[in-house]
Symmetry: C2
Subunit: 366 residues, 2 copies
Amino acid sequence: MYYSEIALAFLDLELPPSSVQLCSCLDPAQAQPQGSTAWLSGQLLALRPRCSDAPRLPVRRQRSLLASGAAAHCRVRTDSMPVLVRNAHKFTFYTQFVCVGGSPNRMKAFAQFMHKELGLEGSGEDVADICAGTDRYAMYRTGPVLSISHGMGIPSISIMLHELIKLLHHAKCRDVTIIRIGTSGGLGIKAGSVVITDTAVDASFQPRFEQVVLGDVVVRSTDLDRELAEELLACSKEVPNFPTLIGHTMCTYDFYEGQGRLDGALCSFSSEKKLEYLKRAHKAGVRNIEMESTAFAAMCRLCGLRAAVVCVALLDRLEGDQIRAPREVLREYQQRPQRLIAAFIRRRLGLCPPPATEGTTDLHGL
Amino acid sequence: MYYSEIALAFLDLELPPSSVQLCSCLDPAQAQPQGSTAWLSGQLLALRPRCSDAPRLPVRRQRSLLASGAAAHCRVRTDSMPVLVRNAHKFTFYTQFVCVGGSPNRMKAFAQFMHKELGLEGSGEDVADICAGTDRYAMYRTGPVLSISHGMGIPSISIMLHELIKLLHHAKCRDVTIIRIGTSGGLGIKAGSVVITDTAVDASFQPRFEQVVLGDVVVRSTDLDRELAEELLACSKEVPNFPTLIGHTMCTYDFYEGQGRLDGALCSFSSEKKLEYLKRAHKAGVRNIEMESTAFAAMCRLCGLRAAVVCVALLDRLEGDQIRAPREVLREYQQRPQRLIAAFIRRRLGLCPPPATEGTTDLHGL
């Protein structure tokens, strides 16, 4: 199933006639409440276009789509547009893995790291930002791996994902695996541990993402691909020296009050109340806290993308709010998800395990 | 009242003994429900320390505060730390205006523009990023004006505000005016119109911000300073050639589905439903839509900061979802809030109106 072909069905564009039939599936008389997850899933299953039926936008329209509001924030460089549009078949075979993370510098460093890990020609130091036309996001391509920044928080990653999924559609990419790599606060785990998320939960520890659509709350599932999580855990055995575990990840809308921190500019609760909340979270299976996983999981699931979240815990929040490890230690912590993902990608591509390498992440991600 | 001294009271730090009394105000036996806005306001009013009572952190502790978790994302350059810490009194008299906006490039351009508008020495081209140690935010100082980027969405601006307010506290800044300048989607207004927000509303058009604290929803007011809004509207008469109005601003958590766009990767509603929603928003007084105003208004109000939101509408959403104006037209639109704020700051500082100048904003903010 082309998840991306289906996404096209919902684009309100001047589509060629063969695609009108896809849009007509948006029928308010359907049995399921319109906008419900069940309704949407029903729509998606009903479409299932075959490759030859797939609507193809004329090149001029594709450029218009990407250059204007439909990708208002990614702003792919116009000189790179031919790569996506005219060489789409190459891009298809190329892009198999998409890695996303908050910091532009960290994702550039990851792209350079993957360049070495994949044994590509050249040093990789001059990897180009495909989204150089904007400072909202950065995007780098290293062989079959796209490395993209998403900023901080649910709204920021949400915008990027909408635009990424549309770009992948136009490049006719299939069977893409997308992984968020990041930093997080741990709960009851050693600083430096890497958590592979099985389910993203909200601040009430529920496995759901509440998306507001036209003023109404639509609840979406935040389950991630269990097999992918297990495969990543298995890969972690090849990467020595840090503990890796599978657990729930709590996603919040705020770094300070929303995560029970006492050291924000505002704090309306005691340290006892804070600890009580964090312990309840731990009891509910939460092992780390960050700020994008629920929206990421929900959207990838809805679009049929195989997805994972892999974050390193910079501290144990049950011990305090502030990161106290020295800079060089934090630098090495940040490399851990990158090293794990590199091992995973190498295994998927059938490459031999590399000699022990240092990552090139710097601390700009902090 | 030192809003910033009060914020210090809630910091869970090793404070000198004189400040222990401030922290003891966090008394769970208080009449108001703990965590309610009324309770917090009561706490804030009860404190009101005098200047001589104000707890002063030792220099070493201040460095620790700013360099570690308490400003984990701003990461002020350590060589600029002495500016804040040892020269705090200068910084106090300096910083009177803080302007925030989503894009780092746009805020740098604004700093350079203000350099010219204020008639400062030099070209202003080499304005330095005070937060150069991180790629999360950018911060520039031009005389009495701080220009800071905040990324996209409520979580991103929320983190920045927490850390900014703490920095302003340590610099002993008083009577600071903070203004968010940005882009937005208009509703029933001409593209290029500038909206000065009187009240920020959520996706249900309610003047509230729902902050999740320890898993519970705390509702906060989103009223902005009415006098400041009127003052800005009066200043707009000095800046010819674009319409300016006061109106409600709707703040959403998502750019696509959350704002009724049909051109995201996902869309579960018809264009009729979309238009019906946007028309209801317009009827409720909403004149533009963006993604930070409710959190910005709520937090500034709670911390006693005089605040405004000034955004240009890049399009009229009642006419469509995509921005169709040519690049040079959009560039000029983006300059409009900057020109208005420059006129406001000049008037506040008692400077004569400048000769007609071009702004230096580029479109990287898009």
